[in-house]
């Protein structure tokens, strides 16, 4: 990753601390450049361009949105090439070496719930992509900023007044966005995979009392498979990987409205599972 935009690099340094870009001994996946294209707009209303391998998959964005654009660009890179992994469309957090997968369609509150769990001591594996190694069935961590959209930003601020939020970007393609920085433990343990143990389909419903309901495994299989980016593409490897996950996890649907209560429910679930037979 190279960039000449110092404001962007500052934000990047907050979210990816200690990751010196382009140390000569490090092999990287993508050659990414974030820069201000040379044009008249440079002085009037500066823009920023995301470049990967000298290609420009997106139109330039307003320069102030460089960081969210970089994050989306990175997601695009991963979604279009990381087929070595089964890519679940899910947030995932870990308690020790055991992972909780939180799949969800946009608006289900998975990012908000993942962020709340991480702020309560869970280890962040990843938001947006759950990267599963099909041959082992475990999840690889990819702790990056968790993007919160619109009202979720206030919800998290209310949940933890000291939540480590990055800058707020008021006008992006996806509305108002702010990222929760992963905690140092999650970052330090980003080479430590975790084995799926719980599969929770969250659904934010305003005003609802938190309810955790066991979900039939056949339904869970279908929902998890259809919520993955490359299920069809991986064919039988994906079928087997999803099957293995479903066999090893407890499956629930989870309707929630209050983050404090939601986190209590899920941590209680984790505590129960940790002491089998009691």
């Amino acid at each position: 990753m190279r960039s000449s935009d110092s404001a962007f690099l500052d934000t990047l340094g907050v979210f990816y601390p200690g990751r010196a870009p382009q140390t000569p001994t490090c092999v990287y996946d993508y050659d990414i450049r974030v820069y201000r294209p040379f044009s008249m707009r440079r002085w009037v209303r500066p823009q920023i361009q995301f470049e990967i391998d000298h290609l420009h998959p997106f139109e330039p964005h307003p320069a102030e949105n460089a960081f969210p654009m970089y994050e989306w660009g990175l997601n695009w890179c991963i979604a279009s090439s990381a087929h070595r992994y089964l890519m679940l469309h899910a947030g995932s957090v870990a308690f020790g070496d055991r992972a909780m997968i939180l799949p969800g369609t946009p608006g289900s509150g998975k990012s908000t719930l993942s962020a709340a769990l991480v702020l309560s001591g869970a280890r962040l594996l990843s938001d947006e992509f759950g990267l599963v190694r099909p041959e082992r069935g475990d999840l690889l961590p990819m702790p990056r900023g968790i993007p919160l959209k619109n009202a979720s930003i206030e919800a998290i601020r209310e949940f933890r007044t000291d939540a480590p939020l990055g800058p707020t970007y008021p006008k992006t393609r996806k509305g108002r966005v702010s990222h929760v920085r992963p905690d140092d433990t999650s970052l330090a343990q980003q080479d430590r995979p975790a084995v799926p143990r719980w599969l929770i389909f969250p659904k934010y419903v305003a005003g609802v009392a938190e309810t955790l309901e066991p979900l039939d495994k056949t339904d869970a299989f279908r929902q998890l498979a259809f919520n993955s980016f490359n299920y069809r593409l991986l064919g039988d490897a994906a079928f087997n990987a999803v099957g293995a996950i479903i066999r090893n996890v407890d499956c629930y649907t989870f309707r929630f409205s209050r983050l404090e209560r939601a986190v209590e429910h899920l941590t209680a679930l984790v505590a129960e599972t940790e002491t089998p037979g009691t």
Partner: protein, 365 residues
Amino acid sequence: MNLLNALLRDPQVVRNWQAAEWNQLLPLARSARLLGRCLSLFEQHDLVDAVPPRIVDQLRGALIKTRFLHVQALRELRHVVRVLDRAAIESAALKGVAYLAADLPPRGWRSLSDIDLLVREVDIARAESALQRAGWVPNGEFDDYDQHYYREWMHEIPPLRHSKREIEVDLHHNLAPPVSRIVIDADRLWHAARTVSDGHGFAIKVLAPADMLLHNALHLFMNDELRGGLRDVVDFRDLYEHFRAEDSDFDHTLVARAQALGCERPLYYAVTTGQRLAGLQPSPTLREAVAHAGPPAPVAALMAWLIEHALAPGRLGLRRTRVANGLLFIRSHWVRMPPRMLLRHLGHKLLLRRKPPAPEPDLPG
């Protein structure tokens, strides 16, 4: 020459590579659509252990996607051929999908996004309407000029795509435009074509081995989409090695066929380019035959320079590459259209039309 070419010529070079070299290779191979080929080279030469795991992951990911595209392409081929069979129209698979159907070496790694078929010129209008009745639609918007361009001057019709699927279908009636300098008698291709079967009751014609290579060479010689053209050069090498191993007399067949079809010049370019950029090792027979088929020395040198900078840039994004591509683009039109037609075509392209920008991909997250 770049690291990708060095790798294609001698895979053992990677034993000395450090991070800097790997970081150069990945964008080059990605842009040339040769990630899968790199992995198969490493596997063939027992080099996978010498490759950083992160790179292996990227190569495997690309190959997984390619295999998925293979399934889609073969399925599309079966759908198309079923419709054409019902209309009693004979068809042959060309290029990528033909390598798949005939189980030829590029099958192990070659990605594709469209399928190409050959039908007879007398059948092409019927073939198009049969497919349109069965759910295929034009893949893109083609104005009157485009329609005229394809139907009157080119050897193919505007691309089709089934309304419920993603793979493009290109119907051709020849290997080169009828207005070009090289005019090929399609009947001779049909006469030599072979039938291959997938073992599950599906059979399709493909070109004879020599014709397959000459088609590849013509493509390199005349194609105006040179980005990723190195993949076709590697196809040539892999097919050549395969056919030669199968038939010790293949070189003579190939040379004789090139003469018969008037394709000596394209074969010259394919062989010399393959040698320089993709580790092709032509037999003395073939080398001797093409040595006399080149253009005058200054033209040959210029073309070698252009092809090298278009297909083997030292790194991506160089101005030289754009210049070389631009000149080759003009040349590709020059060889396939008479001058007046070319002027009219370029004038139309440059002055009268602005293509709308391609839609942006969705931003995940």
